[in-house]
Symmetry: C2
Subunit: 170 residues, 2 copies
Amino acid sequence: MISINLSHTAEYALRAMSWLALLPAGKAVTAHELSDATFVPVHYLLKIMRQMVSAGLVTSAKGHGGGFALAKPAKRISYMNILAVVGYDAHPNQCVFGWGKCNSANPCPMHDSWSAINQEFQEWAEKTTLAQIREGTTEMLPMPPAAARRARKSALEKGVSRGRKAAEEK
Amino acid sequence: MISINLSHTAEYALRAMSWLALLPAGKAVTAHELSDATFVPVHYLLKIMRQMVSAGLVTSAKGHGGGFALAKPAKRISYMNILAVVGYDAHPNQCVFGWGKCNSANPCPMHDSWSAINQEFQEWAEKTTLAQIREGTTEMLPMPPAAARRARKSALEKGVSRGRKAAEEK
DNA sequence: GATACAGTAGATAAAAATATCCATAGATAA
DNA sequence: TTATCTATGGATATTTTTATCTACTGTATC
């Protein structure tokens, strides 16, 4: 659970998508690489990525050299777009009390205090895009921790090009 | 799931506490009444209320005439206080990527965009108290939907003072 | 004291979220 | 063509969250 209480799934989706946004446009990354970089369990990640693909946010390619890449420019993919894919319902007027009709004219006890922050979040998620990521922080990421680990492992188990394979055969 | 993705438990806690805040100071309400008013399953509510009691936000009294009431003035109970009881961790600097050290000097790819809204939420939860509830909307709540239902039911099954009892005996 | 009320405590059950596994199909390279 | 890579789709397992149940303790009223 993260501060604004994202589900694991939502958090994973954001991580994976932002990682894709860091790649040179058009370059595909495999699920394994993505998993290593983002610490998202491979199979679960694959499941999430499939949803991203059918939602049209990501393209996929099978076979050698295949993988995942953003389907459109980073600045055209908002956080809200991503969260929506993993089941986040944008209910600008959703009520903490579950009241069907809850608005300033007919507020639940928490309406006033809640709707303020809620609306801010909605707006933030809609206007913030994957482009924000690329801008600030690319250069801080020469190699993600997991990729480094994997590289070390791979080096140890000499000669095999993919660390994972080597690890399995041990 | 509500907009900012509160867990059911967190949502329930907020509802129950805000209901207590609406009562005349010192008046106790039973778990059943609270459950009717807030649509929180009784037993689950009881479990949550126990946590509120041990956290010192609520007082409880057993036996006839007993129930729950706020342990201190509404304005001294912040939403953050409530959320903390049900397991919400206030991590002003928690990282979407799960990086141990993630701050403006060493940011994860999402740090900049995320920390802004995250911090807003933290501040909001800390400065907003149950007093906000009482102020605005008390008069809009002559009788909550469930209480009304219960009263109707009770009236139908004539003569017994507690609707619940009557329903069970039917 | 007896009775009914109401919270406490902990066990158990059901449902949802998270994670893993396996058998396939498409794509590339040799 | 064959072997290898990689995503797809669906089944299954695990864990966590949510919900329910039962026995018990304290309190007030009669």
